[in-house]
Amino acid sequence: MATHTGRLTGTNAATVAEERPAVRIEGLVRAFGDRRVLDGLDLTIRPGEFVALLGRSGSGKSTLLRALAGLDHALTGAGELSVPDHASVVFQDARLLPWKRVLGNVVLGLDGPDAVERGTAALAEVGLAGRERAWPVELSGGEQQRVSLARSLVREPQLLLADEPFGALDALTRIRMHALLRRLCERHRPAVLLVTHDVDEAIVLADRVAVLDEGRIAADLTVDLPPPRHHGDPEYTVLRDRLLGLLGVDQLDQIDQPDQTDPDETVR
């Protein structure tokens, strides 16, 4: 366990009868200048648990993820934060080094004689066998994001942090990537924190959905729907509406909202 900032209290003493959490956050505060982006946030993620974090833009989702990834050098803050040593990040952009071939990107920073072998296996796992020698620019957006997934998974992370990883992909590619991510997570069982603004993505993928608002976890819901989860399920709709409500989206804001004008006028 590594602790980035703040006081470290009793990570060793925390082992009671309960399973030790993969991530434990207590009273986390992060501020840009005077503005408190995270304000006393608590969150626990069990090993192998898939948590989706929803929030409006500017709610501090990315700040939390960057704090967990140890990337918030310039911020002031307090609170307790314990994350596994082996954490890896999937960014919204695939963030591949353009001057390295696909395999080189996957094994970036890996040591050991079996690095190439492991990298090749990871690429095969995301469905990119045979593309090891390609340059990143030669790949489509979805393929690039697969490479970035392979780069994370080849490190066998105990914690996978994903910052809107499918936000830049088209709808069809996104559906495929959801299935892929779900499969990979079931096989490797890392704890996952997926930051997203997409309610459906959260429900389809996660075991638990947390909603971030005003720097705290405003709601923490367990998603207890059998797979495959889809829109047709009435429970799905209930959960979806509830989450949207928590995010401040009214019924009226949803779907194609009819014009408030007189219907006769529209026809004429």
């Binding site: 963030r95 390295k100 970036l108 194609d256 529209t266």
Partner: protein, 295 residues
């Protein structure tokens, strides 16, 4: 209510009960003139081998002018005289030995200038203290034309080879420094973040992120550097030299041998073209990851 209405809004067709409206504007046929392609405003398609047209025309004017006696051979020798003179110079071995001397100067000056510029850029690009110490003086040096330093360099180093090489090296150092430094400073911070998350060590970070990231900048600097090196060579060889292409031309001036001067000019031109081509080739090789997009 909402579904019915939205369907109606989506459907492009008119409501069934609405009478077909006469729309006289739409019935009028489009005038034929409208369909003809518009007059092209761009320069149009490229002419095959168009780049050769201007130089060939120039050569033709030169030849015709010389043959017709319109051009005084004391100002510009006839093209054929230039060719035979070049042949003679090669037969005597004068051209080769001059060329070798000049090439050596440029090569040594270029190598030492590039090495110095690269080291300074790395120190200044990778540490804040280095930048504070180095960047200012180099920017000041940049404002002073290298050739303006020649009088001072002659006083310090005499008129020998070292003065010539140092002048060339100074002229090369600045562009290499400026562009490499810029390349280092503009490496995308997202890649730095990535390097942190995959826990690269400093040495690995330099090897996998910094150096390849700054390479395009360095190579651009090299292209300017090569041009500057030849420019500096021309000047130092004409100021004070007893060998080299510039000396050959200076000597020809005192004897009024225009044809030798022109041979020298052609040689300088070819050297510039060849060395620029070499850097561009290196660029293409080293940046092949980028070329895939550029085609």
């Amino acid at each position: 209510m909402s579904t019915g209405l939205s369907k109606e809004r989506l459907a492009p067709a008119k409501p069934a009960d609405a009478a077909p409206e006469p729309s006289p504007e739409r019935e009028t046929p489009v005038p034929v003139a409208r369909l003809r392609p518009r007059r092209r405003l761009g320069p149009g398609r490229p002419i095959p081998y168009g780049w050769a047209l201007g130089p060939l025309l120039l050569l033709a004017v030169w030849s015709v002018g010389s043959a017709a006696g319109l051009i005084d051979p004391r100002n510009i020798s006839e093209p054929w005289t230039v060719v035979t003179t070049a042949n003679d110079l090669i037969a005597q071995g004068r051209l080769q030995s001059s060329l070798w001397t000049s090439a050596q100067r440029v090569l040594i000056g270029l190598l030492s200038g590039v090495a110095a510029g690269l080291v300074l850029a790395l120190v200044s690009g990778l540490s804040r203290l280095g930048e504070a110490v180095i960047d200012g003086p180099v920017q000041i040096k940049r404002a002073i034309p290298s050739l303006a330093l020649i009088p001072l360099l002659i006083l310090w180093f005499g008129i020998g080879e070292s003065m010539k090489i140092i002048t060339i090296a100074l002229a090369v150092l600045v562009p290499v420094y400026i562009h490499t430094h810029n390349g280092l400073r503009t490496i995308d911070s997202r890649y730095v973040e990535l390097a942190e998350t995959v826990r690269l060590r400093r040495r690995e970070f330099l090897r996998h992120v910094v150096i390849p990231g700054a390479l395009p900048g360095f190579l651009l600097g090299m292209r300017f550097a090569v041009t500057n090196a030849w420019l500096a060579l021309v000047v130092v060889e004409q100021v004070n030299a007893t060998s080299g292409i510039g000396y050959m031309m200076e000597l020809a001036r005192t004897y009024g041998q225009t044809e030798i001067i022109i041979v020298g000019l052609v040689v300088y031109g070819l050297l510039g073209l060849v060395s620029d081509g070499a850097v561009r080739l290196a660029e293409r090789r080293a940046l092949s990851w980028r070329r895939t997009l550029a085609g």
